[in-house]
């Protein structure tokens, strides 16, 4: 693989860029693999990558029904934070955030992790108390966050309106090394490295059936033919239940549309991420200059990636209230992604009732930030055939045991 560097850019610039290779090789499926990862989003690609990197496994295929990163990985608002409340959540999200810090260098692909800081506003007494609790939990678990006073909030985000009148800002939880990254680059960077390891990345290939022998997985039926495998992992976000159905089990997941929008680009006006849970909206500004805005998910299950307008309206209203100066900017584009919501809004990284079949899903509205950590933990589980420390709290049997990992006390919006 040709390394990306200043000098390679320089040399290529002088020969019409003719030397750049394919970021990842386009492959057709072989007859058989040790491991097949279904789903070429961030989580699937990261799983394949860490299988290769940490465990030297390379007889792997990642199969994707559309194009790499075309699911939620390429549709989200890219907030990265680890200021969670529950210990198990902190474990995996902080691992992930930590891996993000050096991901560009690890992948030799600039994924533009930007630790610009994440502010979670407190706009009611109740929210303030809840955030204080989170900040204590963070400190004890080694996550760098602190509570900041309203004046400090104003200093960090000068365009914010802290005085209300409706919901004055009473304080905020500040994670200075939270931030954002470029979503497409995360998918592409992982794909490129996977390909370099010799992992086959197969696009336009949809899984349409699962072949089992005595409750053990043997092969997948795909639109590009049958492919045998010793182990398979489904990493298909909003479509996980569809795949589980093919494999003959059910998942405690509901699929709903979550929407986001961007404004037209403008010169920098805010350089951190602000999440306002009481009014329900969050905002950051991309490097291109667009304000990136998200809010809540639609209230009904659906697979069409079109959301309803009233959600956009509520979100924008909340943000215009919080940042009055954005009122004259214009919405450029809106879109939706199908998010996989579990009952406790925490993910599933688990073995399944089918032997040799693993699953990683349920990241819902907040899994972009988890991509490296989740890939790490899932790879470990697949290789060892049992979940390790990071993954084990998220096994699927927690729903039948009542061992839920509920973050709702910490944040109404879990992005």
């Amino acid at each position: 693989m040709k390394r990306y560097s200043l000098s390679s850019i320089f040399t290529e610039a002088f020969r019409d860029n003719l030397g750049w290779e394919k970021a990842w090789t386009k492959r057709q499926p072989k007859k058989e693999y040790q491991i097949i990862i279904v789903g070429g989003g961030g989580h699937g690609l990261a799983t394949a990558y860490y299988l290769a990197k940490n465990f030297n496994m390379t007889d792997i295929a990642v199969i994707e029904k559309g194009w790499i990163g075309g699911g939620n990985t390429g549709r989200n608002t890219t907030i990265i934070r680890s200021n969670y409340l529950q210990e198990s959540s902190i474990g995996i999200y902080e691992k992930s955030r930590f891996l993000y810090e050096t991901l560009s260098q690890d992948l030799n692909y600039n994924i533009m992790f930007s630790p610009r800081g994440v502010l979670m506003l407190c706009q009611t007494e109740h929210e303030l108390r809840a955030m204080k609790r989170t900040s204590h939990a963070n400190r004890i678990n080694g996550v760098d966050t602190k509570m900041v006073a309203p004046e400090e909030v104003k200093e960090i985000v000068p365009i914010i309106n802290i005085n209300g009148p409706r919901f004055p800002v009473l304080g905020a939880l500040w994670q200075p090394r939270g931030g954002t990254a470029r979503h497409d680059a995360v998918a592409w960077g992982y794909a490129r490295k996977c390909s370099d390891f010799g992992i086959d990345i197969i696009e336009q290939c949809e899984v349409i059936g699962v072949k089992k022998k005595r409750e053990k997985i043997v092969a997948l039926e795909t639109t590009k033919g049958n492919i045998k495998a010793k182990k398979v992992c489904f990493v298909a976000a909003g479509h996980s239940s569809v795949l589980a159905d093919l494999a003959g089990f059910r998942l405690p997941i509901e699929s709903v549309a979550l929407q986001a929008l961007v404004s037209e680009p403008i010169k920098p006006m805010i350089d951190c991420v602000v999440m306002a849970n009481t009014v329900h909206g969050y905002l950051s500004q991309s490097d291109k200059g667009e304000l990136v805005i998200g809010g809540g998910a639609d209230g009904y299950n659906n697979y069409s990636q079109r959301g309803s307008f009233h959600h956009i309206e509520e979100t924008v209203r909340a943000l215009v209230e919080t940042f009055p100066v954005i009122s004259r900017l214009r919405q450029l584009r809106q879109w939706g992604g199908i998010v996989d919501m579990t009952g406790d809004r925490s993910p599933i990284i688990s073995k399944t009732p089918v032997d040799g079949l693993y699953i990683n899903c349920g990241w819902g509205t907040g899994g972009f930030k988890a991509i490296p950590g989740s890939g790490w933990a899932t790879a470990e589980m697949i290789y060892n055939e049992r979940p390790g420390k990071l993954a084990s709290p998220f096994s699927i049997d927690r729903f039948s045991e009542g061992r839920l990992i509920d973050e709702s006390a910490a944040a109404a919006v879990a992005h």
């Binding site: 990306y4 560097s5 200043l6 850019i9 610039a13 002088f14 394919k22 970021a23 390429g74 210990e87 050096t102 560009s104 692909y109 600039n110 992790f113 930007s114 630790p115 610009r116 007494e125 108390r129 204080k132 989170t134 204590h136 939990a137 400190r139 004890i140 409706r166 919901f167 497409d184 960077g189 037209e264 680009p265 403008i266 006006m269 350089d271 500004q285 490097d287 200059g289 079109r306 309803s308 307008f309 309206e313 209203r317 215009v320 100066v325 954005i326 009122s327 004259r328 900017l329 214009r330 919405q331 450029l332 584009r333 809106q334 009952g343 406790d344 927690r398 009542g402 839920l404 006390a409």
Partner: protein
């Protein structure tokens, strides 16, 4: 140079001049001008800088497709960035500024990007800026951010009033060109309501400007007649200045009205339309041919050149070259030639054309070269000459032609965005080289029925004759499909049949352009995406159209690729050697025209943003110095400080008055949900964990609700009003949630139950009279006997106080003898005042929510949301007594049998007493044991009653730790030690409340 003609201009009024400023220069235009036409009239050809390379750019079009001329318009609170100069009407004293440059438009430091552009090929930033690691945050990213973005962010608050307007219509016609007008005429008198939205300030679209000079007068008469018909027809309403911008499920349509007639900022409204059927008549947009140096100022779409001339009397230049691949574009040179403009050459990429328009042009003495195109443009900030080359080959220049304007036309692209917003599919038309609506795969309505029809140019039908021919036919078909009984509409075609105008689908020329040329061939002007970028994307494997778009940012600028999408797809198809229809297209998403965020927020902003809910006692609270606390959407009195009391003194006074004498609380915000019907008891037994159906009329019972996972959801007192009615009290914040929850269960799971639910939260107000003297106080109203025998704990009576109807519950949230008085909201204030007056004798003090919380914490009562957080079971709270063992089913029951809900390490509610009685534990701090958190504080106060700090908390296996001392870490350096006790600090036997 560009200039104004001495006459002409259908849109301007030459009697009225308008003064405006552009980058500080004072300029003049005419009433009716757009900012763009006024700039051109003032010879402002270089008006913008591009996004990435900061290249000089001029006006490229006359309409909404404009990629270059984005301006910052207005000042102070009405400043708006990124406005297309082609879409704003000129207003007196308007301040217009170009953007994305520093220090000025002409001398822009960042145009250095252009010099280094060879290093900035598509995706270069993914390959670099990685070393050293910290430099991304502190150096590279800030640098990139400053260079990108377009206009400046507004810095002042917006004072505009934005409105949402709701409208229902049978038919919505989108676009008021010939197709739209004809459709409206054809639909009238059929008993349908018809709405026609047109984005321009007049209807007519392109057909008058596009018709032949000699026929124009005849068509104008026809047009006036049509307008007359529309005006007269009561079933048709026409909305001008209104762009339909989004189509959603079930025929929900967003339209953006922007009325620019007032002299101040424009007035904006968002229309929310429900349309049963939509007729798409959005016309087509001219697309350019991509050629080397095609982004210089002075190059413009051919039809736009004509628009500026016909509508505003403005000439792009007086020596104009046309490069084209179709017959339509000749109209522009013919019109110009008629006005004496020099047309040195027309370069036509086709081999030949037999359309008579070619003869007409030749007849005017215009030199036409077939098989030729532009191989180079001279000029730094403005085109000054073109080099002619063959369409085939690498682009060797055969001849250099000086000129000061270049018109370009690559054919017309149907405007299909709205078709695909809501599921309509597109078909590739290889002959014409564009996507058009697929009539077999249309957007659909609620029942899956077709709800959109495309007519006219947006459906690929371009000639006036054909439009007038096919629209009535299609409308008649539509009417019969919708089963509307009405006469067929017939209209005699006033247009003369013209010979078919043809376009050869070529997109980027010359075909064999060298690498060097490809780097100067712009596809997306605003984002500076060139042919070479798309080729690099393909070379690097970003072959899928979505990948290519994201890798190069093609079509992602504020014009959303209106002029670049088709060309981009085509270049992609050529680089890949795949047919275009195998490439597909990216998804079109709302909004078609960007909507201001303030307009999306609408009138429910500022003062109307989540309006504050106020109780009937609010006025009194306000007058009595209340500090407010927001609770859900309510505001409640948090405390009532007196004189110069500190907050602690206030709270202490309020708490002690309840403990010693009597206090008065406005608890009107409490949720009150009436559950009524023969099955009400059965229903509530399923909802609450405890038994409700056995409750006797006239009695109250505290009830707890859990969710399916067994976690506490809400709580409150249930009163049985009579056999079939229960009044369920909920938490103040939870009322709406509980109400929705009950409805959901009733409608989705237990719809067989005969139950009605009404949320009466605002109908009744509630006043708590709490404290040892409460009974005495209430009994001063002669009518009532509140003795313990007559009204025992957890009972209620209905009676009158003077002539005010009240329902008096004997319940307690403070541990004291206490009554809560429900009263019709319109009499609440009166009752409150009465109680206050009578209460003087008993030293009555009103108390707020904070005192309420302290009182209940002293007593160890939970607050849902404090002691619970969605992970806490009744057992965790020590409330197993409230979970019925007898009931067969209720929400949460199944979960209680799950192993983890019965595990020994669950967190349990305990009382916490700090060893140092003066130290109050901070909110939310955690107990630690061996460096691990084992629980946290849920409520913590200084208790005025006990004169010491008290707290409640959830601690792992807490009940078995009673008596032991735990460490609570309050910061990385400091801890507080406290003893675990029973969570009931005051009157544990309950003698007082029962008394």
């Amino acid at each position: 140079m560009s200039s104004r003609l001495p006459q002409e201009g259908s849109r301007i009024n030459r009697e009225k001049t308008v003064d405006f400023r552009f980058n500080g220069k004072n300029l003049k235009g005419f009433y009716g001008d757009t900012v763009a036409s006024a700039l051109l009239a003032n010879n402002e050809m270089f008006v913008a800088r591009s996004f990435k390379y900061h290249r000089p750019r001029g006006l490229f079009s006359a309409g909404e497709e404009e990629p270059n001329a984005l301006m910052g318009i207005g000042e102070g609170p009405s400043f708006e960035p990124n406005i297309r100069a082609t879409e704003v009407k000129l207003r007196q004293n308007m301040n217009v500024a170009s953007q994305n440059h520093w220090p000025s438009l002409r001398f822009d430091f960042l145009s250095i990007n252009n010099v280094f552009s060879r290093f900035f090929a598509a995706g270069f930033y993914y390959k670099t800026f990685m070393w050293p690691r910290a430099a991304w945050k502190y150096l590279f990213e800030p640098m990139i951010r400053r260079a990108s973005g377009l206009g400046n962010a507004p810095s002042e608050y917006d004072e505009e009033y934005y409105e949402h307007i709701y409208h229902h219509t049978d038919v919505l016609i989108i676009g008021g060109g010939l197709a739209g007008i004809t459709a409206a005429k054809a639909l009238r008198d059929r008993g349908l309501s018809i709405m026609l939205c047109e984005k321009d300030c007049v209807i007519g679209g392109r057909y008058l400007e596009d018709s032949k000079i000699e026929e124009r007068d005849r068509y104008k008469k026809f047009h006036e007649k049509s307008i007359g018909i529309l005006k007269k027809s009561k079933d048709i309403s026409v909305k001008l200045n209104t762009t339909v911008t989004g189509i959603f499920d079930h025929g929900f349509v967003l339209a953006y009205e922007e009325n620019q007639h007032s002299n101040k900022a424009s007035k904006k409204a968002l229309w929310k339309i429900r349309a049963k059927t939509m007729i798409l008549c959005t016309g087509a947009i001219e697309r350019p041919i991509v050629f080397p140096d095609n982004d210089l100022p002075g190059i413009m779409l051919a039809a736009s050149v004509r628009d500026y001339m016909q509508k505003y009397g403005v000439l792009l230049g007086d020596r104009l070259v046309l490069t084209t691949n179709n017959d339509y574009a000749y109209k522009t040179v013919i019109e110009l030639k008629h006005r004496g403009i020099d047309i040195p050459v027309v370069l036509d990429a086709r081999d030949s054309s037999d359309n008579p328009i070619i003869k007409e042009a030749e007849g005017l003495g215009i030199r036409i070269l077939f098989g030729k195109c532009i191989g180079r443009v001279e000029g730094k900030r403005k085109a000054s000459a073109i080099g002619i080359c063959s369409v085939n080959g690498e682009g060797t220049i055969e001849e250099l032609i000086p000129c000061n304007a270049i018109a370009v036309s690559g054919g017309w692209t149907p405007n299909v965005n709205l078709w695909s917003h809501c599921g309509g599919k597109l078909l590739w038309d290889g002959e014409c080289g564009f996507y058009k609506p697929d009539p077999e795969n249309t957007p659909t309505g609620r029942e899956g029925e077709t709800n959109m029809l495309a007519l006219g140019a947006c459906a690929g039908v371009f000639s006036n004759y054909d439009i007038q021919d096919h629209v009535p036919r299609k409308i008649n078909q539509l009417a019969s499909r919708l089963k509307i009984k009405s006469k067929r509409y017939i209209e005699t075609n006033v247009f003369s049949k013209e010979s078919e105008k043809k376009t050869k689908p070529v997109f980027a020329l010359p075909h064999g352009a060298s690498k060097d040329k490809q780097k100067r061939m712009y596809i997306d002007f605003q984002n500076d995406v060139k042919v070479s970028d798309l080729q690099l994307a393909v070379q690097e494997g970003f072959e899928n159209v979505e990948h290519a778009k994201r890798y190069t940012t093609l079509g992602m600028a504020t014009d959303q690729g209106k002029t670049s999408n088709i060309n981009g797809i085509h270049v992609l198809s050529q680089s890949l050697g795949k047919p275009v229809d195998k490439i597909g297209h990216t998804t079109f998403r709302p909004p078609y025209k960007p909507i201001p965020l303030g307009l999306i927020a609408g009138q429910y902003a500022k003062k109307l943003f989540k309006p504050v809910r106020k109780t009937p006692i609010d006025k009194w609270n306000l007058l009595n110095n209340a500090i407010w606390e927001p609770v859900a959407d309510w505001r409640r009195a948090y405390a009532y400080p007196k004189g110069n009391e500190g907050l602690e003194e206030t709270l202490s006074r309020e708490v002690l008055s309840v403990r010693k004498n009597v206090g008065l609380l406005d608890s009107s915000t409490l949720g009150k949900i009436l559950v009524k019907g023969p099955d009400a008891g059965r229903f509530l037994d399923l909802i609450y964990t405890n038994m409700i159906s056995t409750l006797k009329a006239g009695k109250c019972r505290y009830g707890l609700m859990c969710n399916e996972a067994g976690f506490v959801f809400d709580d409150g007192v249930v009163a049985r009003l009579n056999d079939q009615s229960f009044l369920c009290h909920t938490t103040s914040g939870g009322a709406d949630r509980v109400y929705a929850w009950l409805e959901e269960w009733l409608q989705t799971e237990w719809h067989h139950l005969k139950v009605f639910i009404v949320n009466l939260t605002e109908q009744y107000s509630q006043i708590a009279v709490a404290g040892p003297k409460s009974r005495e106080l209430l009994q001063t109203f002669k009518s009532i006997d509140l003795s313990a025998e007559k009204l025992p704990f957890m009972n209620f009576i209905e009676t009158n106080i003077d002539d005010i109807w009240v329902r008096i519950y004997r319940i307690s949230f403070s541990g004291e003898l206490s009554y809560e008085l429900a009263v019709n909201s319109n009499q609440a204030e009166e009752l409150w005042n009465k109680l206050n007056k009578v209460g003087k004798k008993y030293k009555l003090q009103p108390y707020g929510t904070e005192a309420l919380h302290i009182l209940r914490a002293e007593k160890g009562f939970i607050v849902v949301g404090d002691e619970t957080d969605g992970t806490v079971t009744p057992h965790d709270l020590g409330m197993e007594w409230i979970v019925s063992k007898k009931k067969k089913d209720f929400i949460g029951k199944k979960a209680f049998s799950l192993p983890h809900l019965n595990s020994s390490i669950r967190k349990q509610l305990v009382g916490i007493l700090t060893l140092d009685t003066n130290k109050v534990l901070p909110d939310g701090c955690h107990a630690v044991e061996d460096g691990k958190a084992i629980g946290h504080v849920t409520s913590t106060y200084f208790s005025p009653t006990l004169k010491r700090s008290i707290a409640l908390g959830l601690i792992e296996n807490g009940r078995s730790r009673k008596g032991s001392t735990l460490e609570f870490e309050i910061s990385s350096k400091e801890s507080i030690f406290a003893k675990i006790v029973d969570p009931n600090f005051y009157d544990p036997e309950g003698a007082k409340q029962d008394g």
